[in-house]
Amino acid sequence: MAIQTAAIDVADEYARLVKAAPGAAVATFTGYVRDFSEDTAVHALELEHYPEMAQVVLQALGDSAAERFGLAGWRVVHRYGLLSVAETIVWVGTVAAHRGDAFSACEYMMDTLKTDAPFWKREHGPSGNSWVKRRGSDDVRRARWSAEKGA
């Protein structure tokens, strides 16, 4: 797990993950800064975070995914600071014996991270900066994992 300002080297992260935890099925997700939001163009994205709590939450999230889906390995990298459009924001990798567990664990980690990890996005656009509000669809996606298993 890493929380950093530097761009995420996806190829390097992938190589390190599969070397440390070889397995038959590997799933990854990479999130990038988009150039639009619900009602305006976006020039850049600023991410504030709560460093000590983010460490605790991301580590616990990976541990819970490993236990729940029987992972051989996992890694999550999350950035903070000022990011340009098309830059990486987050990367999650999961290694399991079968694709179902690798896919599910990766999705579970992303869905949970979005609502539970202490990061806050602020979009920079043509008419100024505005904090991103939590989307209801994120809560719905997060709730699915609690409904499937009392987490």
Partner: protein, 89 residues
């Protein structure tokens, strides 16, 4: 009894502080057991900006880096953070 208060995102901006030490005994010597709600009430007395910021819907409180309900008991040396819903990923 001292606690560290931390504020993030819209709370930090609205209140103009990122973190500070709070002496609960100095605030109210009569109270012996403090929960998150009591600290919110005490801080809300700092003025309308504090009251509005700390009583917004969906306010999240984390005690020692874990999200807690408003009746969580706060002890000497604890770190209590207030912030809006998280939007990472």
């Amino acid at each position: 009894m001292n606690v560290t208060i931390k504020l993030f995102s819209t709370l930090r901006e609205a209140l103009g502080e990122a973190d500070f030490e709070l002496d609960l005994g100095a605030l109210n010597g009569q109270v012996t057991t403090w929960d998150v709600a009591a600290i919110k009430t005490a801080l809300s007395k700092r003025g309308p900006v504090w009251r509005d910021a700390l009583n917004q819907p969906n306010l999240v409180h984390a005690l020692n880096h874990k999200v807690v309900f408003i009746d969580a008991i706060v002890a000497d040396g604890d770190e209590l953070a207030f912030f809006p819903p998280m939007t990472g990923g």
